[in-house]
């Protein structure tokens, strides 16, 4: 599959004088996770109230009535908000990961099966599982969250004009890796997962900031801006690497490299 344009990797390292910038960036991300955690705490309390009063309101209602259906929709909206607070709490949260051996293709397929009914016919999913038996040491829930976020970003990019999301799974030998971050020791083998869309692509400035917490490209329906910072946090916490290949007008591919077992 042809991937577009130039390659950008986050974060850049290695130049003298960048130490202060990296420190500021670390502080910014620590502050972001502190703020995010506080917001999530308050939101979870409010959500409990929404669930609770909705539940009380359902009591005594005829399940076939319109009011019953409307209150069920309130509860469904609260479910969506709960998922967002889950993402907020994921920022910087390494302590709660329960790592185990995970078959990557199983989580990929589950992701696509979950999302397939939610997209229009104008968006096509393609699987390229080139190496089926690839496993990594990861928390399956967190890995699922990563794949959902990447797939959703690709889908959102293609919502206006349709397109194809291609998900590729294969492997790379550590010795073949030319784009490892400076100072990183290569693992023997990596699982390589690629999410590539045929959407509008990004300019260099947007691509350079896409993993920042709360950064969005400015379109109203592009979400809270947390998804990709969550992806970055989870993948780097399991010694993986995230790269972006994008070109305006040609689409975006996000490559994950995770040490495989």
């Amino acid at each position: 599959m042809k991937t577009p344009g130039k390659s950008l990797t986050e974060p850049k390292q290695g130049n003298p004088g960048d130490a202060e910038k990296n420190l500021q960036r670390t502080w910014k991300q620590d502050s972001a996770s502190l703020i995010a955690g506080g917001i999530a705490h308050d939101l979870n309390t409010i959500l409990t109230l929404i669930y609770g009063y909705s539940e009380l309101a359902l009591e005594g209602l005829d399940p076939s009535s319109e009011n019953y259906a409307n209150i069920r929709k309130i509860i469904q909206s609260a479910d969506r908000a709960k998922a967002v607070t889950g993402q907020l709490l994921s920022l910087g949260m390494e302590a709660d990961q329960v790592r185990m051996t995970v078959q990557v293709k199983d989580v990929l397929r589950e992701t696509l099966e979950f999302l397939r009914p939610l997209v229009t016919d104008s968006i096509i999913f393609r699987e390229e599982i080139l190496t089926p038996e690839v496993s990594v040491s990861a928390d399956p829930v967190q890995l699922y969250r990563v794949f959902i976020n990447l797939a959703r970003n690709a889908i959102q990019a293609m919502e206006e004009r349709g397109g194809t999301l291609t998900v590729t799974l294969d492997t790379r030998k550590g010795a073949e890796m030319s784009n490892l971050k400076a100072g990183t020791q290569a693992a023997d083998k990596y699982a390589r997962i690629l999410f590539a869309d045929t959407g509008p692509g990004m300019d260099e400035n947007t691509a350079a900031r896409m993993f920042e917490p709360f950064f969005t490209s400015g379109k109203q329906n592009m979400g809270t801006g947390l998804g990709l910072s969550v992806v970055y946090g989870i993948i780097t916490s399991i010694d993986g690497q995230v790269s972006v290949i994008t070109e305006k007008g040609r689409g975006t591919a996000i490559e994950l490299l995770i040490p495989s077992l």
Binding site: G38, L49, Y51, D96
Partner: protein, 121 residues
């Protein structure tokens, strides 16, 4: 009827949980933080304490420890909506300190009431 203490700094949530439990005929005492909880805690009245963990003044972890000192057989349910460490981490600490059950917000009050019923038998 068994006595329940609710320790929760959010007033609307405190009142919602009070309503849910009083509807099921429990005797309910409420407190807005750990300090107030220990001032109001009566071993002869309270059989179970439901406490939020992250609260201003004195937090839920100190409630758990203090209740265990005063009346060790009191049942305790810890609840948390998270913070920087996430609800899972606080709830793990709560369990380690002696909570009988932990709940992550958001939850349905009916689930909490069901758990109270199960724990008290």
């Amino acid at each position: 009827m068994p006595g329940v203490m609710i320790v929760e700094d959010d007033l609307p949530l405190r009142e919602l949980l009070r309503e849910a439990l009083e509807k099921r005929k429990y005797t309910v005492v409420t407190a807005s933080d750990g300090r107030e909880a220990m001032l109001k805690f009566r071993p002869s009245v309270i059989d179970i304490v439901i406490t939020d963990l992250l609260m201003p003044e004195e937090d839920g972890l100190s409630v758990i420890m203090n209740v265990r000192k005063v009346k060790p057989e009191t049942k305790i349910i810890a609840i948390s909506g998270g913070g920087k460490a996430g609800p899972g981490s606080y709830l793990t600490i709560g369990k380690t300190l002696g909570a009988d059950q932990v709940f992550s917000k958001p939850f349905l009050p009916s689930e909490l009431v069901q758990k109270v019923r199960e724990i008290l038998g």
